[in-house]
Symmetry: none
Subunit: 208 residues, 4 copies
DNA sequence: CATGAATGAGCTTTCATTCAT
DNA sequence: CATGAATGAAAGCTCATTCAT
């Protein structure tokens, strides 16, 4: 009757979650099977149920981890108020750069949330948190006079998140696009949107 | 020697497709089963295979119909060159208005296309077509001096489509948002993006 | 209310049977489907049931036709009593020559008869008839002093038939065999068996 | 960390194979269903797939086991060179004696091999091996002066195998035959064929 | 005579989950 | 902690057969 090492337990849990991510990214939530995940994680199916009570629970945990990552990403951001528009434009357009193999997962997650209320809850909570973080940045930018003061920070944040989601869809819709070109235009779009200023080409704005 | 009405055949096919849409919207592509679809369509499981050779084929047909609808939507648009920015802004923000029960389907479709190459093909073809239609509108707008001439029409179209996709995700991410507020901001975003002009609040732009 | 032309009816029946033969030879009795047969015969599934009451009935009719062909083959044989051993040896070894695409059917038929009593009956009746025909030839040969008089004609006939069946299996077991070589040895075997004489090499016997 | 006994696994595999043999012998390969096999083996349908990856795989394994048995049978044979003709005659005619419930399976197997290339390969490999074994016996007999030296051992072996196959068909074609009578004649046939000597009635030859 | 729409049982296979060891 | 044997429901799909037209 040994005591369980909670650290090891958590590590294993994370390893399983990572394996699940890979499987789900490859095969989708319905297509990825428990036995595939077990094979990928190098454990037996019976054992997996010591860490997660169901497939559902894995998906939920994964969703939390996935979106938690996004929150960390934005939390880490603490730009000079003057540069906020540029930084946000960069964050959005960087969606297209990250060679995140989990890319497809986000869309899968959103689609699944549309019919799984528990997942929907997780998603809403995280989206609210994200909106809050971005909204704060925008407010700071407005205080510094670099963001159009008439924009509602929360609504604008909401739309920026939508744009990020949409760009993930784009890589599937139009996989042959030149990502650098797209990024430049996205950059322009975000800056024009946030500043409300004329002629906000990337070069000019970063100069100003 | 009675060759039966091909019109009836096509009608039935469409009815099955409609039933499938409802089921897939409710349960997802993997979750929606042939037997559910048959129940919804009021036919026997065996009979469905007189109309579609596989579940895959149903999904493909659905994808084509779904995206074909979008193309029709944009093809129907023939705005005054002067009003193009406004009209496109309206189209984008209207994504949020349509109580299209097929809403969740689009994301599902994109997620599925990420791992189903045949579906990916359908999607790419239609996306290209859509981009072309919107790009033409933008070119016309540029010729009329109402759209920023420095924007590449195809890239800009691509991003508008992404935005539409992203807005669909938003209704899931933040179902409690006030859609009218969102629409107003989206409107602003699109106009600022396309015109490149300062202070492009909806009211002002439509006046100009 | 026209009167049915019985000749045309019978022709169609035969055409369907021929189509069924091709399908069954290709796919087996269980594997060959009614709809495949209909496609091959160029008729609709519903119509097929005007000619045969069930798939079973088709198989039965086919079995009868198939074995009837063998009976015709042997009935047509009316050799000089002196030559009977040679002729029979030729008939047996010719099994390997006929490019009868229905070859596999015979084995299929026998295997099926092992578990389908109705088919078994058909098969037994025809086998008895065949044995009778061959037995008569053997008796004639014995009367002419060219067949070992100690052989029971019916038993010997039975074994010759077995040999024919077995040779059909051989083309599947050893498809790369040189059929001419095999035929020569089969020839020797049959002659030695029937005559009971020493050194019955084909050349010598036919001379003698 | 308990890796379970691979012996038990193999035993279960064999038990399933045995159950499958019984089902296939009764219903044929296409007629015998997975669920019937599972019922016969006393396991659940899902569980069967821990042992065999498909129905096809079961059939293949069965074919291998079945034909492997025949090889063992012949490998076990190490007769005095003098007695080879008798021994082989006995082996052939014993086909009719064995109350092997798998009898019908062989024909089914051959028929199936005619349209299943993987099965055909298994069958050809085993047939070649069998021919080799019998051919060696015949060569030994030839060296001992008891087998007609002009016979090609491989061809003769091929034909003996065919005869065995054919005798299996006979029990279906003519189930009312007196098997002992048949066996005696088969015995005669084989001896006459192999020795090439006159009057090789069983009694005489075994004396000589 | 002829069609093909329609059925529904049954097929092979997959999979989340449980449990004895 | 860890295994993998075992379950059974449900999946996608096929097919012989019937029937209105």
């Amino acid at each position: 009757m040994r005591t369980v090492d909670p650290v090891k337990h958590e590590e294993k849990r994370q390893a399983i979650l990572a394996a699940a991510s890979r499987c789900f990214a490859r095969d989708g939530f319905r297509g990825g099977s428990i036995s595939t995940i077990c094979a990928e994680a190098g454990i037996s199916p019976g054992h997996l149920y010591h860490y997660f009570e169901s497939k559902e629970a894995i998906i939920r945990a994964m969703a939390e981890a996935y979106m938690g990552g996004a929150i960390d990403h934005f939390t880490g951001l603490a730009p000079e108020p003057k540069a906020i528009a540029s930084v946000l434009a960069g964050v959005v357009s960087d969606t297209l750069r990250r060679d995140d193999s989990g890319q497809p997962l986000l869309l899968e997650l959103v689609a699944e949330a549309a019919r799984n209320s528990e997942l929907a809850q997780v998603m809403q909570d995280h989206s609210r948190a994200l909106r809050g973080l971005i909204g704060d940045l925008l407010s700071a930018g407005q205080a510094a006079g670099r963001i159009d003061p008439q924009l509602d920070p929360d609504l604008a944040a909401s739309i920026l998140l939508s744009l990020i989601d949409g760009l993930r869809a784009m890589t599937i819709r139009s996989p042959n696009s030149d990502l650098d070109d797209i990024r430049a235009v996205v950059d322009t779009l975000v800056k024009r949107f946030l500043t409300g200023h004329a002629n906000c080409r990337s070069d000019e704005v970063t100069q100003g």
